[in-house]
Each structure stands twice: as C-alpha cells, then as structure tokens.
C-alpha cells in the first residue's frame, strides 16, 4: 500500500473512531458537573428585578408579604416590602453583610453571625437562604445518585457535598428536571445528616432562553406544618439598575 493510501485509510479510521466515540458520549447520561452547570445557567443572572409575594403558612395561620426586589450578581441585593403591615421595611445585602431598615423606628439594624439563621419576617426563608446566591457548581462536589420521576417529570437525582468553609448546608439532594435542567425539589441537610429544609420549585418561566424558577416553596423541617411560598412576578432579567440602589442611603429615599 502506498503511503498516500495508507494515510487516507488511517484518517478515515480515525474519523470513524472519533465519530463513534462522539456518538458513544452523546448516548451517555450527562455528568453531575454538567447537570449542575446547566442548573446554574438557568438560575444565575447578572442583574434581576422582580415583584414578589411571600405566603407564610405556620399551622393554621397564614400571612402574606409582598415586595419589590433588585439584585446584582451574588453580592448585591435590595428588597423593599410593600404589604401594608411592613410597608417601607427594606433589606440590603452587600457581600456578606445584611442590613434591615424599619421605617416606624427609622432605625437600621445590621444582621450578622448566627442571627442570619432567623427566618425573614417569620418565614421559612432564613436571611442566609436569601443571601446565598453563589453558583452551586462552585460550592459543591456533585454526584449522580440516580433517576426518579417527580410530579410526572423525569429527574436526575444529584448528591451535593461540600467541605468548604461558609457553605451553610454541607449536603444537598436535588431533583433536576432532565428536560429543562431546573431544580424541582431540594433537600438541605445539616452536617450531621439531619434534614433541615425542603425546597420545591412549583413554577418556572421562560426568560431569555432560560427556565427561571418563579414559584419556590421552602419548608423548615424542624417545624410541623410550616412552609413559605415565594412567587416572583414581573421578572426582568439583566435590567439596568442604578448603583445607588445598593447603598444604605437607599433606605431613606
């Protein structure tokens, strides 16, 4: 066989091999890292604005809080409550710091340390939950634990673990929709393995080519019959936000 011919066969074989190889990879289930990256891609934004409604249910009691929220990346967020009882109450997050402004007292309170574990306005969302906006793929090492059908949707089940300092829930178990790569259910565990909270995504919206979770339910597993549903309306992804919004001065504007 001539050298030119030999080269052609080798090339053909290589292409064939690469082709089969590619076919073989695409037939495999995506890796845990891939799934988590696609989840992050759905959830992560540079800026966001939404109007929210938080329904807090504790036993037979139920209360509703409404709010407007602005956020930029994972470090800046501003929430203004608009329901009559809390109208004017504002919350500012700058990196790891959180402040709350109470209009009746005209007082600003810094919330830090263990106080961040308390529920916002008596809800199942702790300040910590609200502040936590980092990409899951940067915080956790993930593994695929299997597949399950949840609410009629095929899901990947992911096990997330982290030994990093500052990660509030060292272990999570997530049910991720195989088609849309949105989290349908999440279980948040303490270091000891105790289940602390369960989150459910009850609704999503399609925005700028992504499936964004718009109705989220949190339930504190250390309380019986306790849950909080956050519904986000009028969501705007990547709007332009005045930098002054993320400052303490914005409390008194």
């Amino acid at each position: 066989m001539k050298i030119a011919q030999r080269t052609t066969v080798a090339l053909a074989t290589a292409l064939l091999y690469i082709g089969f190889g590619t076919m073989s990879v695409s037939a495999q289930a995506p890796s845990a890292e891939d799934i988590l990256s696609r989840v992050d891609a759905n959830q992560v934004y540079s800026t966001i604005y939404y109007e929210g409604r938080m329904e807090i249910v504790s036993g037979a009691r139920s209360k509703v809080k409404t709010m407007k929220a602005w956020a930029e990346g994972e470090d800046k967020a501003f929430i203004e409550f608009t329901n009559p009882e809390d109208r004017g109450t504002k919350m500012l997050k700058l990196e790891d710091n959180l402040w709350m402004y109470f209009p009746s007292e005209q007082d600003t309170v810094k919330i830090s340390g263990a106080m961040l574990r308390q529920g916002i306005m008596g809800s199942d969302f702790s300040y910590q939950d609200a502040m936590n906006s980092e990409e899951l793929s940067t915080l956790y090492a993930a593994s695929v634990a299997g597949s399950e059908t949840l609410e009629g949707r095929d899901c990947h089940v992911l096990e997330l673990k982290s030994d990093k300092s500052g990660v509030h829930y060292p272990r999570r178990r997530l049910w991720v929709d195989k088609e849309h790569f949105t989290i349908l259910r999440g279980e948040l565990y303490a270091k000891s393995g105790t289940l602390l909270k369960v989150l459910k995504v009850l609704g999503t919206v399609s925005l700028q080519g992504r499936r964004f979770p718009s109705v989220i339910e949190y339930s504190d597993q250390l309380k019986k019959n306790s849950r909080t549903v956050l519904t986000m309306d009028s969501i705007v992804i990547n709007p332009s936000i005045d930098p002054g919004r993320f400052s303490l001065q914005a409390f008194t504007r």
Binding site: G113, S165, V167, Y169, K191, S192, L196, K224
Partner: protein
C-alpha cells in the same frame, strides 16, 4: 423656761390627741412606706445583680476585644488563647475568686413541631459550679452524668414549657458551626432549670464543652471566662470591686476586655437611678401631704386656743415663747409619727427579708427582663435610709409647725383675749 414650754406642749398634744394622732398617722404611713419601698427597691437591685452574677455575667467576664466588639451576635470566632492558663492566673491574682470558661452560642431548639430561638452555653462541667449556681436551680431531673451515653443538655423551665418537653425527652438543637455550616443533633434533657433570670429561663440551653464541640466543631474556642469575686455586704461594694478587678485584668493582659458586672448591668443601673428619682418624688409628695396635715393640726390648735395664747401672753410669755411652744408641739408630733414609722417600716422590712414578697405567684409568667421575680422579692436592710426617714419626718414636722407657730406669735394680748 424651755422645760415649761415642753411640758405645756406635751399636755396640748395629749389634750388634742385626735388631731395629733391623725397627723402622726399620716407621718407614720408616709415614712414607714418610704422605708419599706426603699428596702424593696434595694432588694430588687441586689437580686437582679445577684441573678446576673450567679447565672450569666459573673462578677466579671473576660473576653478578647474583638469578641467584645461583636458580642451581640455571640460569634464562635475571636476566642481566648490559652483560656485554661488565663483562668488559673486570674484565680491567683484575686484571692477567693474562681474562674470558668463558657462559650455562648445562638441556636434553635425544636421538638419537631415548633422551633424556637435559644441561647446555648458550652460549659465546663468541673469548674462551672465554682462560679455559677446553675446546679442549685434544678427544678426536675439531675445534673450531667459523669459518663453520659448520649448528648445531654439542661434547659430553662419556660423553654421546656413552650416546647412541651420534660426531663428525659429529646430536644433537637441546630446551630451554626465554627466554619459557618449548619449542624443539628438530638439531645436528651437531663434536667430542667428554674432560673430566676427570665431570659435564661425561657431560652437557655446548657451542654458540656465535649458535646458542644461535636455540634459546633472540634475547633470551638473558649470565648469568655466568667470570674466570681467574694460577695461583699452591699451592692455598692460589689460593683466597685468588679470595676477595680476588671481594670487590673485589662492592665495586666493585652488585647483582653474584662466586662465588670457594673458594666454588664449598666442599662439596669441607669434604669434604677431613674426609678429611684421617681420613688423619691412619690415620697416627697407623701411627706408634703403629711406636712400639710401638721400645718393644719397646729393651725387648728392655734385658733382653738387663741384665748389661751392671750392668757399665756398676759402671764408674761413673749411672742418668741409662743412660737417655740407651737414649734415644740409640731416637733413632738413629728417624733411620735417618725418613731412609729420606724417601727412600721422595720416590721415590713423584716417581713420582706425573712419571708419574701410572693410576687412570683402573681407575675411569675410575666417577662420582667433581668429582674428575677420567680422566687419572691426580698427586701434589704438599709439603716442609713431608715435614719434619714426618721430625721426627715421630725424635721418636716418641725418646719411645718413653724408656719402656724409664727401666726400665733404675732397675736396681740388684747386681741387674743377678746377673741370669740
């Protein structure tokens, strides 16, 4: 002449005994209650400070300056390096003192139905009782076992009540670890503490350092050292001793903040000062009423005895003698009233010191902040205030009598004799 005047004044006080008695009773009740209320307030102050010293703040608390700046959030950072050695050194510097490490932390306590915010304390099971008196406050159950099979905790009585738990039940505790991640575990309630400090009673959870390290991280630091100093006879000395000791420690150790009980109780003491101003105002009003009563009594005495005054003047008494006579009458009423007040006040103080006022029966479930009311309110003997009350009563009576006495002194002989 003075002897004669005293004799006449005494006779007049006895002769007009009803009026004299009314004035004396007003004084007795006013000053007696002043002595009693002062004793109760002083007792309340001492009990409050004692409660803070015995259960949470000690005579003084040692921490790093960084921890002090952030102590509101009870961080698990900024711990004391070589805490055991530091505690031993402090004990040597202040004879009769004891020191023990404690790391407070914020937690949530749950019975799986409800979850309540709680104040956790990691304590040294060996040395804690030498500074704090938790062990004496067991309402049910027992102190920590020497070789526990599982995690054991002691909790406040009101926290147990709010969660519907009793001794032997399991309590779920969740808290932030030293690395900021969350941890949670179940603990058996080995004892329920009935602590006079309401904040600890309704949210206090106590566990050994060994268990706390399992929950919060093996690198859990000692963030505070509680130091108890010998208990002096009165509150002022107790406060000044703690301030002095704190200054010595801060001078001796760099980057250390020693929080004296006087500083820890600063808000309460400021409130007490404000309160004492109001109580002095009330006492002043009571004494003013008594004073008006005395003025009225003597004035009536003057008018009912104008003819007698005329006769006395005719016998050669000068206006000064007449003024003195009525002043002595006021003084006698003051002496009788104030002496009776001393007896009444002493009896009430003795009762409150001996038996305590059972206000816990009425206000036991009411949150009175740092004021411990669960165990009855005990008064405190205050000899200085008792002497002040007595002298004030006598002086007030004498001054009150000066007004009608001056009027009597101005009466002319003929005018007085013609008076109908």
């Amino acid at each position: 002449m003075t002897k004669t005047l005293i004799s006449i004044a005494l006779r007049n006080v006895v002769r007009h005994w009803k009026r004299s008695l009314i004035s004396a009773i007003v004084l007795t009740v006013g000053i007696g209650m002043f002595i009693f209320f002062d004793s109760v307030l002083a007792g309340m102050d001492r009990m409050t400070i004692d409660s803070m010293v015995q259960f949470n703040d000690a005579s003084l608390k040692v921490m790093t300056k960084e921890y002090y700046d952030n102590k509101r959030t009870m961080p698990l950072t900024h711990g004391l390096s070589q805490a055991v050695e530091l505690a031993t050194e402090i004990e040597l510097v202040f004879p009769g003192s004891s020191a023990t490490p404690r790391t407070p932390f914020m937690a949530f306590a749950s019975n799986r139905i409800d979850s309540l915010p709680a104040l956790g304390y990691a304590i040294d099971l060996v040395t804690d009782s030498s500074v704090f008196t938790l062990r004496d406050q067991l309402d049910s159950g027992s102190w920590f076992s020497e070789n526990p099979e599982g995690g054991e905790v002691l909790i406040g009585k009101l926290l147990a009540r709010d969660l519907g738990l009793t001794q032997g039940d399991w309590l779920f505790i969740s808290a932030r670890m030293t690395d900021d991640s969350l941890n949670a575990d179940e603990y058996i309630i080995t004892g329920i503490l009935d602590i006079p400090d309401m904040s600890l009673n309704e949210s206090g959870i106590f566990m050994s350092f060994t268990e706390a390290k399992k929950l919060l991280g093996e690198d859990l630091p000692v963030t505070t050292i509680g130091v108890s100093l010998p208990r002096p006879a009165n509150l002022s000395k107790e406060l000044s001793d703690s301030i002095e000791a704190s200054a010595i420690i801060e001078k001796e150790y760099k980057n250390i903040k020693a929080v004296s009980i006087a500083e820890a109780a600063n808000d309460y003491l400021a409130m007490r000062d404000m309160k004492s101003k109001y109580s002095m105002l009330i006492i002043f009003i009571v004494l003013l009423i008594a004073g008006v009563g005395i003025v009225n009594t003597i004035l009536m005495s003057v008018y009912s005895r104008i003819k007698e005054i005329g006769v006395l003047r005719a016998y050669g008494m000068t206006p000064t003698h007449i003024r003195r006579l009525f002043s002595i009458e006021g003084l006698l009423i003051g002496l009788i009233g104030s002496s009776a007040a001393l007896v009444l006040g002493s009896l009430l103080v003795w009762w409150s010191v001996r038996w305590g006022i059972p206000i816990g029966d009425y206000f036991g479930s009411l949150d009175m902040g740092v004021i411990p009311i669960g165990d009855g309110l005990r008064g405190e003997w205050h000899p200085g205030i008792m002497a002040f009350g007595f002298l004030f009563g006598v002086a007030a009576s004498w001054i009150s009598a000066r007004i009608p006495a001056a009027k009597a002194g101005k009466l002319e002989v003929t005018e007085a004799l013609r008076f109908v």
